[in-house]
Symmetry: C2
């Protein structure tokens, strides 16, 4: 089952979307918003599944689903916490600045508390007041959980994952060093992120959802050119069950909490930094990583961060070449 949100109030209105993302049906009689459905998932889910079946059989009123009109499935959420599950990525970034990565990073997940009061629509512009802030994309997988009790195990946490989607976790790279140096994590350096047009239930993902990971190439194009094709199921050190359990160690998580994978990153064939797509590699899911690889290999970063007018596309195709979650497509604009 695929769920999306169309315009209508701060939280939009919930629609069930067809497998091919061409059609949708209003779900307002079941739950006005996705958050409302998540608040009462045990009741809402079967009713939504029936609606999805009716939509697939074309026996109910349908509307065309236009991704360009979609809001984020959760236009605002009560929690957004983002992991760094692809430790390869973390190690590369550290290596580029000559810093050792603690061994514990391979066993203890790194995660930050993000801002969730405004999740951008999938086609929203990225407003950038100052190009010197070093704007970067970060292509990631996210999951949405139901209520998770404090102290949940990995296995219990896995059971609580109800939806899967994608995010462009926008970062202001040049604000990060000074902000992290203050010791309290990201704040100004993480502006609003954009979510994929639809979120999908794990069971609808078939074999792509296994071991608590989403498998398949996470595709990233930068200004129309292939930039990233890393597999989200490869080199993910911590699966989503582990990430959710990490977040829930000391407190309950409310239904609708979004947990991110961190920037997807695959090692190169030799175990070292991955190559660009033009050189036969799978490329990168953020600009910081290609800059890191450039620094390691060539002594200096060449690829610039995002500038006004640049475009970013993020999606994952199914086995037939159709985007599973729709496409995040954003343009950087002055603000």
């Amino acid at each position: 089952m695929k769920l999306g949100t169309l315009n209508g109030g701060r939280d939009g209105r919930l629609v069930v979307v067809s497998e091919d993302l061409a059609w949708c049906a209003d779900a307002g009689h079941i739950a006005p918003t996705l958050q409302a459905a998540l608040d009462d998932w045990a009741e809402a889910r079967p009713a939504l599944e029936l609606l999805a079946t009716d939509l697939a059989h074309e026996v109910i009123p349908m509307m065309r689903f236009h991704e360009r009109n979609a809001l984020a499935p959760l236009p605002r959420a009560y929690q957004w916490a983002d992991g760094s599950a692809y430790v390869n990525h973390v190690q590369l970034v550290r290596q580029a600045r000559g810093a050792e990565m603690p061994e514990s990073f391979w066993t203890d997940p790194l995660m930050y508390q993000g801002a969730s009061d405004e999740m951008l629509p999938p086609r929203a512009d990225i407003p950038l007041p100052d190009e010197d802030w070093g704007c970067d994309l970060e292509a990631e997988v996210v999951v949405v959980v139901g209520d998770v009790p404090r102290g949940a195990t990995r296995e219990q946490a896995l059971e609580k994952i109800v939806l899967v989607g994608l995010v462009n976790d926008v970062s202001l790279r040049n604000l990060i060093p000074a902000e992290l140096a203050k010791g309290f994590g990201f704040l100004q350096s993480k502006p609003a992120s954009a979510l994929s047009p639809v979120f999908v239930t794990p069971d609808s993902l078939g074999g792509r959802w296994r071991d608590g990971k989403l498998h398949g190439a996470l595709k990233v194009d930068l200004n129309g050119n292939p930039f990233g094709r890393a597999d989200a199921g490869t080199d993910m050190t911590f699966d989503f069950g582990t990430l959710v359990a990490h977040l829930a160690r000391t407190r309950n998580l409310a239904a609708g909490t979004i947990v991110g994978s961190g920037t997807v990153s695959n090692r190169g064939e030799d175990g070292g930094p991955g190559k660009p797509i033009a050189q036969g590699g799978v490329g990168y899911s953020c600009i910081a990583e290609v800059r890191t690889v450039e620094t390691i290999l060539d002594g200096r970063a060449e690829t610039p961060f995002l500038r006004h007018g640049d475009t970013v596309r993020i999606w994952m195709d199914d086995d037939h070449g159709h985007p599973i979650f729709g496409v995040i497509e954003q343009k950087v604009v002055p603000a």
Copy 2:
């Protein structure tokens, strides 16, 4: 005007509360929840003010307001960001561990993104699975804002402050050093915080709300004994306008965002560490600070962190000795 939230669904139901906190009136015909009122504040506020006037004149159906039945005014919020505006406190904590505090901390606010998916009721127990986590209270002032556009100035941000309240920002001190050393800020070390029984509009606070600060002694009792009486309007380096503008520098803030002052802290009369109440000082708003002062003066911390069975009370009296925001009263319990 004072607003509270009573039981009824995940977000509770909005009530207008009398000045003396003895009575309340259902506000469901204006807005079902406080978040709904904040979403449409320009419409909701005058209607709620009328209701408050009718309540004061006892011309509408009233119910007794029992703080013990109150939920947090926002049982879940879309954002909670907490500053460290009492730089004195930050400097003391650093001094105790022999670390220099950067000069920039006096001009650039320190703030972290907190978890807001579960805000505890004012009389909720603090569940503590492990006393060795070093559970601490932190008595603070909070403000709630309407929609704040990216790049708002201090003056614009001040105009957006619609409610004022108190928080017990619970911290797990012994988890903090390792977590902050990872570089991404607080996550497991900040379990759910509790909010005061009511939030109050700034204009109802009279002279206590001025210069973007709340003035008056923030009272903290620990196990029934006076522990803190620091004035929230004294030694607050950054006012709330500055804190909100800091948070909004790179992104919009959604209505209902809660911004905290950080632990209230006053210097001693000689400009150094403040004294305990028993020695004629104003005491402390968290245990970490008294431990810091003990370390500086005596070479070692004496006061233990919270243990199972300990109780914490946090409130601020008006000029007649009545709590303005009601009383946060929590007991630490095994979990």
